[in-house]
């Protein structure tokens, strides 16, 4: 037995004057006062550990809660009809039909990935995958929205390769295809990279599990990896405080992941679910055993009794408080009936997974934790898990916001001398496609397994990741994540809506019917009223837009304090949308197909003069003005057109217009399979009243480029006309020319870009920075 002094409840009652390090553990004075009031005495060291981690920003959402409520309030019955489990559980669950359900969620692992890129990113995947398992689901895919500093900054050189290797090293070992994500470079992410991870899983309805400890007398078991000193305090300290050079370093050892242990845990849990051996289950993530015991207990009968010395340790010198706070990875806690205990153990033995029985469910309404028979925790679990502090932090529109919004691209020096000749415009397209954000990301994505499972129907660089769920029927899902932080910086309300609009559009472009939303809200410090305003506006915008599009937020994550030395990241509300396919073989790829020579190319939607916040403006070093207009009704109509076109087999390629506008979409559709095109902007410029430059580089929303056989043109345009949605024939697919030719309305003729030249410029950007292409 350990030889440190155990601070028991009795001892705490007897020694009220003992000073505890509540401030060092991140608690504020009034928060500590509340703990004293709840307990009617000073907390024990173990209790203090539990409250401090569970009441941290990361675990309690204390600054964001008052705003996040809108995701539960701004909903209609119609929106919730497919929702089996909503916000609040480990991940939301949506009905997929045929007895199948799907669960997905995005989370952040930003600060840990800055401190130790490989392990930070790896354990980010591990954590989100365990959230999915704990719903009773088999994980079937992951995606990674990543944001780094300037591509040439030393910080990016250090962080990016480690993050990419960590995601690959962990995710590839789990047998989960990586089907998409984002890679964005911007100097605002220097020292605050964003490493978000999305996981998706599927389950049969009867396998749904929840995190609750029900059934008095049922046993509580901890299984998986042993508990060590990993990331102690990480939950409250590492994830919640800004890095600030003036304070002493509070960077504890980051968690180290063991993907093999996690893979075994996945299979072992699925066998438990399949044989109906667990009543409730909870993964151990931030706040470890503190979180699992208090959440399971408060969601169930309300009581639990645990003997903490039963926890299997990797490091025998850990104190009870440290055991409660440890963030050792690859652990799960389950509630098992006494009758199932032997069968549970048999499954553990089969997979070689260690387990220890910690205690049982009670109806006392108390979470009692003992250390070798002495009570060291005696709390109402709800006060730990759910009744944490809630802050309605002050916020106001930053005084610089108006100035920012009036500094439009057109009025700036950067917007003064724009290309107008065919030659200059052609060059601008090549320059755009070889800028870091538009460049080929396969150096990153080729380090991820996209084939495992044999169900991946689309993956990056297509608009959405598409995964088959049932190979008898082809039932499947489409997924996309998006966020344009520059739009969100110019207008957080609209920026969040634009993130949703793009993600929704991407899923529909692939042919899936959008069903549900998960968000990862990355912001600076909530204690800064300017930042808090950005957060409040983004949440309000997103909730309003979800209501209008009719798809609910089913879960997500908030990451605050993403700032260093007072410099915050752009508001970055990453939005993931999940859609459904009745048959994934109907999915629409994003590139012109090799056999599609002569197919018609149509542009759907209206082009306006919207260059503020655009990639073109970024290339010229400008950020100001108003982001593109949001038209969710148009997005919805466009989505219906694309879904019908996919279902009825009318179109053979579709790609949404987003960053880089029409120029980027034309280039990307050709680069996908090396198939060129001939188009004219003449009618577009005339119809929408824009010049060729604007036609190419504007980032107006609700636009998609499609290619379709001539035999389908009439049926397709009848459909767009019937829905009153603008569709314009721009030109044809040209599989022979090996180039992109764009004509019309220039001062001089047309411009042509050789695909070989474009591909070289586009694909060499990232390898030239991070070491040769993989091969």
């Amino acid at each position: 037995m350990n030889d440190f002094n155990i601070d028991t409840v009795t001892n705490a009652a007897d020694t009220p004057e003992t000073e505890l390090p509540w401030a060092e553990l991140g608690l504020k004075q009034d928060e500590y006062a509340r703990i004293l009031e709840i307990l009617g005495r000073r907390p024990t060291a173990a209790e203090l550990a539990m409250y401090s981690v569970m009441w941290s920003e990361h675990c309690s959402y204390k600054s964001s809660k008052v705003h996040l409520r809108q995701f539960g309030e701004k909903v209609t019955e119609e929106m919730q009809k497919d929702l089996m489990v909503g916000i609040g559980e480990n991940a939301g669950v949506t009905d997929l039909g045929d007895g199948w359900a799907v669960t997905f969620k995005i989370e952040s692992h930003n600060h840990p990935s800055y401190v130790e890129p490989y392990q930070g990113a790896a354990t980010g995947i591990g954590g989100i995958v365990r959230d999915i398992i704990s719903m009773g689901a088999r994980p079937v895919g992951v995606m990674d929205p990543l944001r780094f500093g300037d591509i040439d900054h030393p910080d990016t050189q250090r962080v990016l390769p480690g993050v990419v290797a960590g995601i690959g090293g962990y995710g590839n070992s789990l047998g989960l295809p990586n089907v998409g994500g984002e890679v964005v470079f911007d100097s605002v992410y220097q020292q605050n990279p964003l490493v978000n991870a999305l996981a998706v899983g599927v389950l049969k309805h009867e396998d749904l599990r929840l995190a609750n400890a029900s059934g008095v007398g049922n046993k509580v078991v901890l299984f998986g990896a042993r508990t060590g000193g990993d990331g102690i305090g990480g939950a409250s300290v590492l994830a919640s405080e800004s890095f600030d050079d003036t304070k002493p370093s509070k960077r504890p050892a980051v968690q180290v992941g063991d993907p093999f242990a996690e893979k075994v845990l996945i299979e072992c849990c699925l066998e438990l679910f399949h044989n109906n051996l667990v009543e409730g289950i909870q993964d151990l993530g931030a706040a470890g055993i503190s979180c699992a015991t208090s959440e399971l207990a408060s969601n169930g009968e309300g009581g639990m009794h645990v003997e903490l010395t039963n926890v299997l340790l990797r490091d025998p010198s850990l104190t009870p408080g440290e055991i409660l706070m440890s963030e050792s990875q690859e652990r799960m806690m389950a509630v098992v009936t006494p009758e199932n205990a032997a069968n549970f153990e048999a499954v553990m033995d089969k997979w070689g997974v260690e387990h220890s029985w910690l205690g049982e469910v009670t109806d006392t309404g108390r979470l009692i934790i003992e250390w070798d028979g002495d009570t060291i925790v005696d709390v109402d679990p709800r006060t730990v898990a759910h009744d944490g502090p809630v802050y309605d932090r002050p916020y106001h529109r930053p005084e610089w916001q108006d100035r920012l919004q009036t500094d439009t691209f057109r009025s700036s020096a950067a917007g003064g001398d724009l290309p107008a000749s065919a030659e200059d415009l052609g060059q601008a397209v090549v320059e755009l496609m070889s800028s870091p954000n538009m460049a080929d990301k396969s150096w990153v994505t080729d380090q991820f397994d996209r084939f495992v499972g044999g169900n991946t129907a689309l993956s990056q660089p297509d608009d959405a990741g598409v995964i088959r769920v049932d190979d008898r029927t082809g039932l499947g899902i489409g997924l996309a994540t998006d966020c344009n932080d520059r739009y969100a910086y110019l207008d957080p309300y609209r920026g969040a809506q634009l993130a949703l609009a793009e993600s929704y559009r991407n899923v529909a472009t692939a042919g899936a019917v959008p069903l549900a939303v998960s968000d990862c809200l990355n912001f600076g410090s909530p204690e800064d009223p300017d930042i808090m305003w950005q957060f409040a506006e983004a949440v309000r915008g997103l909730a309003d837009a979800c209501m209008e599009l009719g798809i609910p937020v089913t879960g997500g994550n908030v990451s605050l304090y993403n700032q260093t030395a007072g410099r915050a990241i752009h508001p970055t509300p990453v939005v993931g949308v999940l859609g459904k396919f009745d048959d994934v073989s109907r999915r629409t790829p994003s590139g012109f197909q090799r056999w599609a020579d002569g197919q018609a190319i149509y542009l759907l939607g209206t082009t306006r003069d919207e260059l503020d916040g655009s990639e073109y403006a970024r290339m010229r070093g400008h950020l100001g003005g108003q982001p593109p207009a949001v038209d969710l009704i148009a997005e919805k109509t466009l989505g219906e057109i694309l879904i019908n076109a996919s279902r009825d087999g009318m179109i053979d390629a579709a790609h949404d217009l987003s960053e880089g506008g029409l120029a980027a979409a034309l280039a990307e559709m050709s680069l996908r399979f090396g198939v060129g095109s001939r188009t004219s902007l003449h009618e577009l410029c005339e119809r929408d009243g824009v010049d060729p430059f604007t036609a190419l580089f504007s980032e107006s929303q609700a636009r998609v480029l499609v290619s379709l056989p001539r035999s389908e043109e009439l049926r397709f345009t009848d459909m767009t006309t019937a829905r009153g949605f603008p569709a314009l024939r721009l030109g044809v697919v040209d599989a022979e020319s090996g180039g992109i030719e764009v004509a019309g309305a220039f001062q001089d003729g047309s411009f042509g870009i050789g695909l070989d030249e474009l591909k070289e410029a586009w694909s060499s950007v990232i390898p030239s920075r991070f070491g040769g292409a993989a091969a």
Binding site: R138, L203, G454
Partner: protein, 258 residues
Amino acid sequence: MSADTPLIGDHTMPETAPLTDARIGVVTFPGTLDDRDAARAVRLGGGTPVSLWHADDSLHEVDAVILPGGFSYGDYLRAGAIARFAPVMNTIIVEAEATTASPLPVLGICNGFQILTEAHLLPGSMIKNDHLKFICRDQVLRVENTGTAWTSQFTQDELITVPMKNQDGQYVVDDATLSTLEDQGRVVFRYVGESPNGSRNDIAGVTNERGNVVGLMPHPEHAVEAGYGPNDATGLREGTDGLTIFTSVVSSLTGGNA
């Protein structure tokens, strides 16, 4: 044809399913990833997949065995090094080296290939890719030996495209063994185009002297179903070149009647 590989539950074909004469075992080790894919490939190739468990030394009367890809035991010691000592491997080694007329056909894919080299059923070994990164891409291979149980339905020097995805894929072997392999025509698959990993002589797959044991690093089981394979000339993810591996073995086992 429906593949019917359940995401949840056992991937052994149900007993009610029509059985062919070719029962092909797919071994699952802790950390195996591509067992479901291999079982699907067997089914699409006309065989009957049978799930084999690493800790069970019985092969349950299968006619051939596939060691699928993954990271068995995390590949923490060396790729395949621990799996090689599993009870099921003891039986596989005996059956594969049997001096009978038809020793057990064994295919090792990726981690399975690594396990076969660790078990010394195949020569050489795999080390980290020369660029040190995991690489996932569509890979062109040339089939140079059509005399094995697993390649009989290819034509000599046929070019095929299958996915490859690994971190430890660089094939190394000593000079003497390399000459023997080349002289005896035991290089079954060779990388075409730029080497993906620095393997000696661009070797992607080899066979033993009897031709019943074959190992290869790329993944034919990910190129068996249109819509979910590598890209090919017809378009996105339509490539099914890997299927011939599985129809070949089924054909070999059923006397060419499959």
